[in-house]
Symmetry: C3
Subunit: 149 residues, 3 copies
Amino acid sequence: MPIKNDVVIGKDVKIWHPDLCNFYGCEIGDGTSIGSFCEIQNEVKIGERCKLQAFVFIPRGVIIGDDVFIGPHVCFTNDKYPSCSQGFNCLTTIIEDGVVIGANSTICPGITLGKNCRIGAGAVVTKNIEKNLLVAGNPARIIRRIDNE
Amino acid sequence: MPIKNDVVIGKDVKIWHPDLCNFYGCEIGDGTSIGSFCEIQNEVKIGERCKLQAFVFIPRGVIIGDDVFIGPHVCFTNDKYPSCSQGFNCLTTIIEDGVVIGANSTICPGITLGKNCRIGAGAVVTKNIEKNLLVAGNPARIIRRIDNE
Amino acid sequence: MPIKNDVVIGKDVKIWHPDLCNFYGCEIGDGTSIGSFCEIQNEVKIGERCKLQAFVFIPRGVIIGDDVFIGPHVCFTNDKYPSCSQGFNCLTTIIEDGVVIGANSTICPGITLGKNCRIGAGAVVTKNIEKNLLVAGNPARIIRRIDNE
């Protein structure tokens, strides 16, 4: 079964195609919706009322707050120096409440995306982003503050 | 069923792995071929003789002409300011005939890719692209005209 | 069946979700592990002890050595000028032993990634990379040598 029994699923969670997902050992908050072709691994926590689009990859080490939008093809990571020969060093990545992550962006491991920040489509985020900032590009750079939007 | 009954499929359409796709409410023209792990949503129209590679995501609002090549992992979008808390504002994206979209590129919403233009692999296209142009990069910039190729 | 009978699979190969993969005509070396939602096409050869994360796309023409790490959403390609109307021209891409390819990067066709080089997350690699180099960005540029790491 692609959704293992150890997944903790809140109330009113909508998983559009359970047969086209791979979830295990994770926790999904109330009211969150998740598109097709997503993988969510062990120990991931996803808050309430989030929206995950299709093709999202969330490995161990990623903690996601409430009301977070995650666009299609967004890719999280958890090891700064992955390797076949050396050990796996899982870093913690924090996505705070209200963050919006644009389509096909890449989130490097061990960073924090601050409250209500926005990640432009296709961005590669390599360091912490403060709250209420819009960033974009590869590597992602600050475009402007969005306090009043 | 990952391919819903409301999908309108033309003649000689080749869908390589219907069980590994998620199509609903869309229209696919004659002679088009579609790889595995694709999602095509409501109201999308795809023209004739197109080739869609694996892992392509096409949400509502995207209209694709004839003879369009869409590389693997290409990601279309439809909302400029996606959000969990605010409404969904679906923009229309037009892909004209003969366009070639390179692998893993991201197409921002509400734009037009002009006839026969080419999008380099990994590009993030943020605005309209005129016909017969080659663009690449993040954000995508003009590399050269390709009228004579 | 998403894993065709013509796939040659070595000893101790771990394919986490055979039902969520699409492999045909390829060869996978001893001790390699492969995540969910991967597609590996005809004539691809993957060496020993490699680790392929989820959502990896490997088309015909790609040859991968031993001990290669391939991050999630990595996208290989095989035709420099893909098209619907013109013929398909499959180029050979070589990934040498010990290479590490970061998440969501794009590997253009016909190039060689030299021994132990590292491709940063989200990179778009457009030309040959010499051994022991770290590259990143779009297009990928040299960040530093990594001989001593």
